[in-house]
């Protein structure tokens, strides 16, 4: 293992995060606060409780997931796309590092950043609602696994993307709708029966449900399904990355 190389990539990516602190950290905090004001305070005041939890608290896990999913995906995709775009990728390809070490560096940094933002949102939420976390270890485990698996997805997108539009395409057109429709702001039991069934095809439902279970001890779907969903998703990403490594897809001509 070339640990120095992994550390170099990780530090370089994290330095970018700290250099662009305002976009990186403050903007998710601001947008989350807006969600709390609009959904939690304005609309939430008219909704009593969802499954015994105040609406303001109920949306916290969904809000964290919404931001963490988009952040980990876009960070990792940008992280590997940018060197491709400006041409510095030649350095990665000619260095004595394996493809997996490149993945660990970029995905690790993107996941760390997303994790940090998730925690910051959690702290911000504390200022708006009373929160007690029922299963803190599970909560952290779900958060970490989600950050890593969506950063893996982001890495794949970054390798695949041929321009900046494509880079935005998946986060905007796929991830955001799936998260919104995945029960971030509602329990899927509140949906008409047909939609409840359709919703089960949305993988994000399982993530949010599991994450919410870690907070409140209640879930839309069984915990086992949530764990299975994230493991399957991560395995699929790892498999794709393995394929990219073997074929040199869009990296080595």
């Amino acid at each position: 293992m070339n640990w120095n190389a992994i550390a170099a990539i990780y530090r370089f990516e994290m330095a970018r995060t700290f250099r662009t602190l305002v976009q990186s950290v403050i903007s998710p905090v601001l947008s989350t606060s807006l969600y709390f004001i609009v959904f939690g305070a304005a609309i939430g005041s008219r909704i009593d409780q969802v499954e015994g939890v105040s609406y303001g608290a109920f949306i916290v896990p969904g809000l964290i997931m919404l931001t963490v999913l988009t952040q980990s995906t876009s960070n990792a995709s940008f992280g590997i796309y940018f060197p491709k775009f400006i041409g510095t990728v030649y350095e990665l390809l000619s260095a004595p590092i394996s493809f997996y070490e490149i993945v660990i560096g970029y995905v690790g940094a993107a996941a760390t950043k997303a994790f940090m933002i998730g925690i910051i949102i959690l702290i911000t939420a504390h200022f708006f609602v009373d929160l007690t976390i029922a299963h803190p270890v599970w909560m952290l485990l779900f958060l970490v696994l989600t950050c890593i698996s969506f950063a893996l997805l982001g890495f794949i997108i970054g390798i695949w993307a041929g321009n900046f539009e494509q880079l935005q395409l998946v986060p905007m057109l796929v991830i955001t709708p799936l998260v919104f429709l995945g029960g971030s702001f509602y329990s899927i039991s509140m949906l008409p029966p047909v939609w409840q069934t359709i919703t089960l095809f949305n993988p994000v439902v399982y993530l949010i449900s599991g994450f919410r279970w870690a907070f409140f001890g209640q879930a839309d779907v069984a915990l086992g399904w949530s764990v299975a969903a994230i493991v399957i998703f991560m395995a699929a990403c790892l498999f794709t990355i393995g394929w990219i490594f073997r074929t040199g897809y869009k990296l080595r001509s």
Binding site: I9, I86, T88, P96, I97
Partner: protein, 308 residues
């Protein structure tokens, strides 16, 4: 001297069917400077990209310092530094951070002292905390060299180091290469400036259409440059060199005249004797002229022959 890089039968065919390299063989000795000359599209960058691991070869074998560049890629790549043709740099980073990143990628622990030494060698030290986007084109090129040198490679590839660079900087670059040679670094540079190859290289290789046409000591080539030709036009064209003149290195020109090759630097050119013997043989001169082939001629001829 030991062979530090060995390229054997390397071919590269792109997906569209274009064959960029057609069985390249090349041996590089430790500590030498080899200039790879070739027109645009000859395969210079493709060859370098394959050696450095940016592209994959379709066939062939490469060893770097005895390590197979595919199987023992870590050991092989550790020995190589690459300065690409394009100025590819992170615009928002400082010089120091960018070079630190490169050193880290090559698995070396952080050593700012060593990096500063390299920056000094390249007259970049006072710019170490500047953001790359604020540097001039020439300075950016130096940053690329610093990034390539920061892990102390044994072999440095310079892909068109002076393309689009002003005369002064070009001279600086030649000086830098000379200094690197003193420290024992093997340098392989590609260029299409013949002057550059003459100024820097120990050996010169010519590549065209994916094939190495020749690799020769520069001095031997210069000797060839010393060769002059005396063109003798005759009143009556001939089709063979007369028997009486067979002791001279003569050839018959396309126009039916004679071409006499001689060494201009030698004390005795043999021209006086030749002219006397020409009259003796009954040949009447119409005109005389001399011609000196340059490295450029040799290069152009080689590339033309290859194209034919």
């Amino acid at each position: 001297m030991a062979t530090v890089l060995n390229v054997k039968g390397v071919t590269k065919t792109y997906e569209g069917g274009h064959q960029a390299l057609k069985g390249v063989n090349l041996e590089i000795e430790e500590g030498e400077i080899l200039a790879l000359l070739g027109p645009n599209g000859a395969g210079k960058t493709t060859l370098i990209s394959i050696i450095c691991g940016i592209s994959t070869a379709s066939a062939g074998r490469i060893t770097v310092g005895g390590y197979d560049h595919a199987r023992d890629y870590r050991a092989a790549r550790n020995l190589i530094g690459l300065v690409p043709q394009e100025i590819n740099l992170e615009p928002f980073e400082t010089v120091m951070n960018s070079v630190r990143f490169s050193r880290g990628l090559f698995g070396k622990p952080r050593d700012d002292g060593r990096i500063e030494e390299i920056l000094k060698l390249l007259s970049l030290h006072d710019k170490k905390d500047n953001r790359i986007m604020t540097l001039s084109g020439g300075m950016k090129r130096r940053v690329l060299i610093a990034k390539a040198l920061c892990h102390d490679p044994k072999i440095l590839f310079l892909d068109e180091p002076t393309a689009g660079v002003d005369v002064e900087l070009r001279k600086d670059m030649w000086e830098i290469v000379a200094r690197l040679k003193e420290t024992g670094v093997t340098v392989i540079l590609t260029t299409h400036y013949i002057e550059e190859a003459e100024a820097m290289a120990d050996r010169i290789g010519v590549i065209s259409k994916g094939e190495i046409l020749l690799v020769e000591e520069k001095d031997a080539l210069i000797k060839r440059l010393g060769q002059k030709e005396l063109l003798i036009e005759l009143d009556a064209p001939i089709d063979a060199v007369p028997e009486a003149l067979s002791s001279y290195p003569l050839t018959v020109s396309d126009e039916g005249g004679l071409i006499y090759a001689y060494d201009a630097q030698a004390g005795h050119t043999g021209i006086t004797g030749l002219l006397a013997d020409l009259r003796e043989a009954g040949l009447h001169l119409a005109d005389l002229s001399t011609r000196q082939s340059s490295l450029e001629d040799i290069f152009v001829d080689l590339v033309k022959e290859d194209a034919a």
